[in-house]
Symmetry: D2
Subunit: 370 residues, 4 copies
């Protein structure tokens, strides 16, 4: 069985695992106040290119849902909600974690995804955010309605799509115009940053996130760490007392140094990919194989649902072929396409061996007879 079902099917990248092994018996204080965390934060800040005058703050949390709920709880007052795409992870796949903190998730209405170009799937626009705010303000009984209090986006999105720098700049501008913190869920950020190598249109950089957002996170769980997300907070109002919220929400790891050791390792040079940090290198590996996978789907004659530039690929497969394919491969049924076809997601990751991709492509050609 070869698994393409997600990007968290293995443990940690060997270089990261080695760092854990090497530091295993060292004694440190707990809760993220240790030299490994300090060093990892310094490396991340260097990679971000953030100025000290911008007062960037980095915290480490264990997982994505935990990170999302903690950041959102830190941003909102009780009567405020968080604007997002209807397909946003917080709206669909976190069991109401945001609502359990007292806040309504406010999916932006109005756009049927099938009416959009592929590139816009799972994304929201500055115009949508502005319309939501103005519509709220225009409503005479507005205090009867949840107040938009922040904006949540994913980069890459649940569809593997990406914001361009221009789009993110526009979102940022509208958020600042209306005082809404902009939060970017970067669970798969490395895979988003790596898309640039294959298509220069995807030009958003880490440095841009520093300039354009209030808070974002650099995902580790899906990019080569055993677990861990690094939250970067640029807005001091959100940074204030953030560790209290981490502790309250159950997100402050006792052996916090495990996060420092892992992120510290990920932001050192990759041992076998000159000029890149390990974090960049892992992203590039996954995206290169994902693009190869995509070419394989095309050459085998299966249509893409989305021409995804990142590590998640979505193709349309006939129901009748799925049982055969499932004998050797794990993949994720994403949605039904029509009466006889499903949209199937295949993920590559930092861990995917190239031969697994070759085997998959071969199998699809065999199935399609091409």
């Amino acid at each position: 069985m070869i698994r393409f079902s997600s990007d968290y099917t293995e443990g940690a990248h060997p270089q990261i695992l080695k760092a854990l092994i090497d530091t295993n018996m060292a004694q440190t204080g707990g809760y993220g106040e240790d030299p490994y965390c300090d060093e990892a934060k310094a490396l991340i800040l260097k990679a971000l290119g953030a100025e000290p005058s911008q007062h960037p703050v980095v915290h480490f949390l264990v997982g994505g849902t935990q990170t999302n709920l903690t950041v959102i709880a830190a941003c909102l007052r009780p009567h405020q909600g968080v604007l997002c795409a209807p397909t946003g992870h917080i709206n669909v796949h976190e069991t109401g974690a945001v609502e359990a903190c007292g806040h309504k998730v406010l999916p932006l209405p109005g756009i049927q995804e099938s009416s959009l170009p592929y590139r816009q799937y799972g994304k929201i626009t500055a115009a949508q955010v502005e319309e939501a705010v103005l519509s709220h303000q225009a409503n005479g009984a507005f205090e009867h309605i949840v107040q938009p209090g922040m904006v949540y986006i994913s980069h890459p999105t649940e569809y593997g799509t990406l914001y361009t720098k221009e789009e993110m700049t526009a979102l940022s501008a509208v958020c600042r115009k209306y005082g809404l913190p902009l939060f970017v869920d970067g669970a798969r950020l490395s895979y988003g940053l790596a898309a640039h190598k294959h298509d220069p249109a995807y030009d958003l950089t880490l440095r841009d996130l520093v300039e354009l957002t209030d808070v974002f996170y650099i995902g580790g769980t899906k990019v080569g760490l055993l677990f861990g997300e690094a939250v970067v907070i640029m807005n001091p109002a959100i940074a204030r007392d953030f560790r209290y919220l981490m502790k309250q929400k159950g997100g402050m790891l006792a052996k916090g140094r495990l996060l420092g050791v892992q992120f510290g390792s990920a932001f050192l040079p990759a041992e076998d990919d000159p000029g890149l940090t390990l974090y960049e290198s892992m992203g590039r590996h996954a995206v290169r194989l994902a693009q190869k996978m995509k070419e394989g789907f095309r050459s085998a004659g299966f249509p893409l649902f989305i021409d995804s530039p990142t590590n998640q690929q979505f193709i349309i497969l006939p129901d009748e072929l799925l049982p055969k394919l499932a004998e050797d491969f794990a993949f994720e049924p994403f949605d039904r396409f029509d009466e006889t076809h499903q949209i199937i997601r295949f993920c590559s990751s930092w861990a995917t061996p190239e031969e697994n991709v070759d085997t998959l492509i071969q199998a699809l050609h065999t199935l399609s007879g091409k």
Copy 2:
């Protein structure tokens, strides 16, 4: 610097780390639905001696606060609170995590700790629980007052003290009499179970917890795992939909197999301690060294604050000696004892080398001049 400041200053026991290394590149599904978790659960159930007819359920979470808040949220309706000792971890050191889930923590009043024998510090009694329930029922305006909805205790407690089987049986009986789920926080459970070897009065077993409680957890973070707590649920009403709550509260690890691999390893035989599981063995190691430490404190002439049977030791040290001691050792100031003395906590753990204990005892003798 030698650290006795907590029992989570190192990474994982080598046998557990090895299991993580050995399974690192295996592919599995996520969120704890994988063969490693299945196997670990089976090993734990075997160690518990729970009958299948008791329908025990095991879940793995990452840390203690997260486990406490998830279990408590699963037990209570909105108007109910959780009875506990005033020193209970949930009342003091979790930044209001239970309140953030909407529930009042109800510390049991009325007993000054200094009026108690050492063995009762940090504990609550069946009589106290019954009095709290009856006092609530007696009050004519009782729906204006939070309803006691469950009981939380720690074993060992924050003072390193332990419940006897008789005490736990009485607590269990009163909880069942009034329909209150009994929840045992076992963050340091292994250290509690190991006390038996040094003093047969400490006779509570894993099997007793199965019989007497509604839910308890077997702590891993403080006992040789990188992280992880294994929740054992005996009461089906609490078990129902528990994974939803884990996900909502941010406690469902994406690479859940890491918890299965670690707990599975901990419940296999210890490689160098015949006849014991690794989990038992790690507890015994820590407690043996803690008892040695205690003897050293005594022989150096420093009074004990509590004659603790577990891995946390509390001694009374003069303020004037602390700076010198702090040059070489990390320890935790627990509380002020009087104008010129503090209560200091020293922890041993699965990882403590015996020579560190010897060095500490030597240093204390030097300081005291004995």
Copy 3:
């Protein structure tokens, strides 16, 4: 200025106000434990025709949002959400009150209102509920998604539409099949019950609510009381400890007898409407005038947006006529219809004088020139 903007523009029906005056200086205990509340509950139970063996329970709360959030908090566990129409009051106009209790509101998707017949606007169907439940169960990662835990509907709806007994019976059956409590928001219940006199298709009775729902409320604020909603709980699991939740959520009135006095008065015979309780009579008055209003709109040549059988009427008016109409009348802009027209809501109530309706109709004829 004549107000048709809502059904709470006046104080209380004179018969109800008189009861408040007559009992003003009587001394009673607080919090709804007084003879007036007891008597009112007995009168309501009589009107409901509930059998003692059904253990119906009645509680009085002050307002609608408070009632909705308290009932919903009493029904759900933390990971559960409440299914409703997208236009449901709890989803749109209660500032996230349900989310502030920790629960996601789950608007049922999939039906464009403009594709429905008028009679279905604002309603949900048994089939929709079943599909939502099955879709949740079918999803492999279902614990990542909020679990449907109950169903909320309004009768009449926000569009003034009504469920038939057949529709409510089907909803009830599917709710019971899947263990979902069915909750009916009856803020305007009297206006719904009165529709029967004008169209026998609207055949749902109080007695049917007793048989088919788990909990519903009989609205007083919009039907002749100064304030007040009477919650009727048929499901003992919801009734349990309900007064605790009332108190916690701020909904237990200190001078609770004010609610008893008012509801007691409303469920006595109407002084000038033989054979009816005052509650029924007030509903009939409003609906008769609403139907007259509707005929007036038609005869003046303005199209109805909905052929509403209750006290809320929705007509389509050209933007250009609104400023003139607003000089003499207050009304509620409900939604935009097209570039040049709005949907306007006019409410009658228990308090509407017939001459106000005549004046409105006359004004509309003048405006339309018909």
Copy 4:
């Protein structure tokens, strides 16, 4: 049966009821946006003597628990709690309403009431608040502990005691020093203000509250209104979006004008008490009769538990006399005093007839044989 069991046993003061009757059929908009509310706010601001430059804001809510939870939710971030006396209403008698909003109530420890002079019962001091803040800051692991975020006091307290201007000034200073909003629960404020006439030591005025607090409320439910509390917010950060929180928490009355009509009436001149507003006059009436009651208790030979300057009186009565007394009078058992005596609370109010007090005093003399 004559009731002294609370100060909410009757309806409304006749002058207030008359205002409700006179305005009953007037049409207004809803939710507190009407001329009656505007006028009442203007009258209250005049009575407060607040400068426009201080930007005082007044909102009306229905009841005390609702007001407390809404104000506290408006003040705190998620990790913050509210400091108060252990006997504070929010800590004891609101069914965990504050916790249900996610916040821990932080009773100030350390002072046994029986060691205090009567006048300090139920109160907290500036020194206690400062110590709590410093103790929190001193703690090395402070983010594991709930952060003190505001201070709640009652004036009068649950014991009928009062803060002097000097005490309140000191509290205010320490709150401002540490950035803690100071919130005064004035459920019985009128009875506190009236104490001045009997003892000039009680010198705190409405104007002082304006100067010294961030937010307070003027209680109506216990002082002659059917229901209602007027929140006065001096701190703009708390005032921001306050109506959203009122709506979300179920505290925005649909017929909001009922609150405006009542408070407007209460802040007009008393018809039969020249030179006073009705609100002042009602307070004075109750306190005069309470002091008469107190003298009666003394002359009948029953000791006072507290020499209360307000409308709540606490005396110590032998258990054996209570059944006889309960035949004719309702009163509240407050607490046990010793094996054979209870502390009993008797309340006067705006509604108490002087002859009821005389009858009670007579009965007590008969019981004591004096």
